[in-house]
């Protein structure tokens, strides 16, 4: 489904070049659950952003479902991101001025889904994450765990092929963290590919494949049974 070949990324700023990725190659198959680990600054978030088409790369090739991502223009890229990828952030990144319903509605709205279908889909998603009763609540009125579940519901809105989660439990206590990871596992069991960035071994242990990055290259790629 995803094929990265020799992806390089260099940040340039005021005469200093910082190499974030210096040739990452990997393949991701459908329904995989991958964790990406590594020390701070090793390039794991950069890799996730490139996978999510939120950041560009300087060299290499990124093929997603036989589409060369580099050849897409900005509008095609936005549509691609909207349909194929769901994001879950450490800080939830919900819009506080919008209700739970409206937050989940964002990707559906930009995806051109009709109002009736949007409403049905939002009800289904909020029900799935146990937040149907919070439909008209604002993020500020919810707990951290609820907010992250809402973020997951939003990420799933357009039924994406891959969920990219950047430290999804980083801002949660252990109980809520476990709940979120179990939710992600459930999603993975229904066929959604999940790529997770974390520095927590416990969280990484939910994944069936663990990739470790160091200094911008993959230093370890282990497939094992998830817990």
């Amino acid at each position: 489904m995803i094929k990265l070949s020799n992806i390089k990324k260099i940040y340039k700023g005021s005469g200093i070049e910082t190499v974030a990725l210096q040739g990452v190659s990997m393949e991701v198959k459908k329904s995989e659950f991958i964790s990406i680990m590594g020390r701070s600054g090793c390039g794991k978030s950069t890799l996730l952003n490139i996978l999510g088409c939120m950041d560009s790369y300087d060299d290499g090739e990124y093929i997603f479902d036989d589409v060369n991502v580099k050849r897409l223009n900005s509008i095609e890229l936005a549509r691609f991101r909207n349909k194929k990828i769901g994001f879950v952030f450490q800080a939830f990144n919900l819009i506080n001025e919008m209700t739970a319903f409206e937050n989940v509605e964002i990707p559906l709205g930009y995806g051109g889904v009709s109002q009736k279908l949007r409403r049905d889909r939002i009800h289904t998603l909020l029900d799935a994450v146990g937040l149907l009763d919070k439909m008209n609540s604002y993020p500020g009125q919810m707990s951290g765990g609820q907010q992250q579940r809402l973020a997951i519901a939003r990420a799933l809105a357009n039924n994406p092929e891959v969920i990219l989660a950047d430290e999804p439990t980083g801002n949660l206590d252990s109980k809520n963290g476990i709940e979120i990871m179990e939710l992600l596992c459930t999603l993975n069991n229904t066929g959604t590919t999940i790529i997770l960035v974390t520095h927590d071994n416990n969280i990484a242990s939910y994944a069936k494949r663990r990739i470790t990055l160091g200094d911008g290259i993959i230093i370890n790629d282990i497939r094992s049974d998830a817990r």
Partner: protein
């Protein structure tokens, strides 16, 4: 998707009405000012056109100026200092040349259907023959003579007509044209004849003496007209042209006149400059370019007023323009602040699949919606204010529906222009940096 964006904008405005209030208020006040200023401008413009039309169409005086090179006698020597002066109204002692009864005949023959011609001599006439100066005070000979002049003299004032011997002898030699050829009624001609030829005339069964003026030589005797007399006030020379008469100068070697005119009135047609120019062409041919003829309309009289109006009108347009710029600056500044505050939201939207172009569209639509709310409110208020409160000198200021088009244009333009800084901000935005910094 457009409906989703529309719904999103409506929800956002509803939820943030308090924050948007000041923008809406600013747009409202701006549009209110623009609308009022523009209405005033339109009204002033209408007034200006009206004044201009009135000035051009209601009155014209043909002025004759001898070319200075031909002047050698005393009166004209004085006039050398009065370039372009209106000789017919000058107080010098020289009769104005450049127009004769023959000329009047030519005009009558050519334009008799359109014009009526008459002599108008009012205020003083100085008639000088060698050693004698005759003063005819306020003698008027015109088609308005009976209707306006005589009845309003008043019995007390109109008990004596003074006419100098010299003038009397000159006028005796004058040709008085009757209805058949000059459009002056027989009755008027008779009256004039009786003034010139008799010692008394009968007016309203009252005997009025015609007094030899030799005793009054050099004196200013006013018998008939004061400026406040009703006929002067009521005398409206609609569509008339007044020309100086040369006739006297053929007879009198050196004489003076003030306000002695040959009057041309447009009878059945509207004021026609082309006829006047044709007459001027004829006169130029006749006098071999010896005189400069020019037509003076009421425009000169209104010139100052028109200039004032134009100044006021231009000031209002500048004010409207300034209001427009203030709206754009204010609105774009506020939108920029809003975009800065909403950069996180926009970055999230981008991560959820919104393109920057969609966000541009969203921001412009939001700006247009705010402008529309403020603009429509401002327009409604201006309608109300113009209807009930605004009056400006004698201008009838009304809400002209042309303004609707203008204001719609202003709303769209301010909406788009004020969103530009915000769209530039979005274009430069790197969502990944914003999301990272959270």
């Amino acid at each position: 998707m457009k409906w989703y964006i529309a719904k999103k904008i409506v929800n956002r405005i509803k939820k943030n009405l308090r924050n948007y209030f000041y923008i809406i208020l600013e747009v409202m006040i701006g549009v209110l000012l623009i609308s009022i200023f523009y209405s005033v401008r339109l009204s002033i413009n209408d007034k200006y056109i009206q004044i201009k039309d009135n000035a051009e169409n209601t009155y014209a005086k043909m002025m004759v100026t001898p070319k200075l090179t031909d002047l050698n006698h005393q009166g004209n020597t004085e006039r050398k200092h009065l370039e372009n002066s209106v000789l017919a109204t000058s107080a010098s002692n020289t009769i104005v040349p450049g127009f004769s009864m023959d000329d009047a005949r030519w005009i009558y023959n050519k334009y008799g259907d359109d014009l009526s011609l008459s002599i108008v001599a009012y205020k003083r006439i100085f008639v000088k023959t060698n050693d004698t100066v005759a003063i005819i005070e306020e003698l008027a000979v015109s088609d308005d003579f009976y209707n306006l002049y005589i009845p309003n003299r008043g019995n007390e004032l109109f008990n004596k007509i003074v006419i100098g011997e010299g003038a009397k002898s000159i006028l005796k030699d004058c040709e008085f044209y009757n209805d058949d050829n000059m459009g002056v009624s027989e009755k008027e001609i008779d009256f004039l004849r009786s003034i010139v030829l008799s010692d008394t005339i009968l007016y309203q069964d009252k005997k009025i003496s015609i007094v030899n003026s030799d005793a009054y030589i050099g004196e200013r005797i006013k018998y008939f007209i004061q400026d406040n007399n009703p006929w002067v006030k009521n005398f409206k020379p609609a569509y008339s042209v007044i020309m100086p008469i040369k006739y006297y100068s053929d007879i009198v070697s050196s004489s003076g006149t003030e306000n002695v005119y040959f009057s041309i009135k447009f009878k059945n047609t509207l004021f026609s400059p082309s006829i006047l120019f044709s007459i001027i062409e004829f006169l130029n041919d006749e006098y071999k370019g010896e005189y400069d003829y020019r037509i003076d309309t009421n425009l000169d009289r209104y010139k100052r007023e028109v200039e004032n109006i134009k100044f006021i009108s231009d000031s209002f347009i500048i004010l409207a323009g300034v209001s427009f710029i203030i709206i754009i600056c204010g609105l774009s500044g506020i939108l920029l602040i809003i975009i800065n505050k909403r950069s996180r939201e926009l970055a999230i939207c981008i991560s959820m699949g919104a393109s920057k172009k969609m966000l541009f569209f969203e921001i412009i639509m939001e700006s247009l919606a705010i402008n529309a709310i403020g603009g429509i409110s401002g327009m409604v208020f201006s309608l109300f204010i113009l209807k009930y409160f605004v009056s400006f000198k004698d201008f009838n200021i009304i809400f002209d529906y042309k303004i609707l088009t203008y204001i719609t244009f202003v709303i769209v333009l301010t909406g788009v222009l004020s969103a530009i800084p915000a769209t530039i901000k979005i274009k430069r935005m790197t969502p990944i940096q914003i999301l990272k910094s959270l």
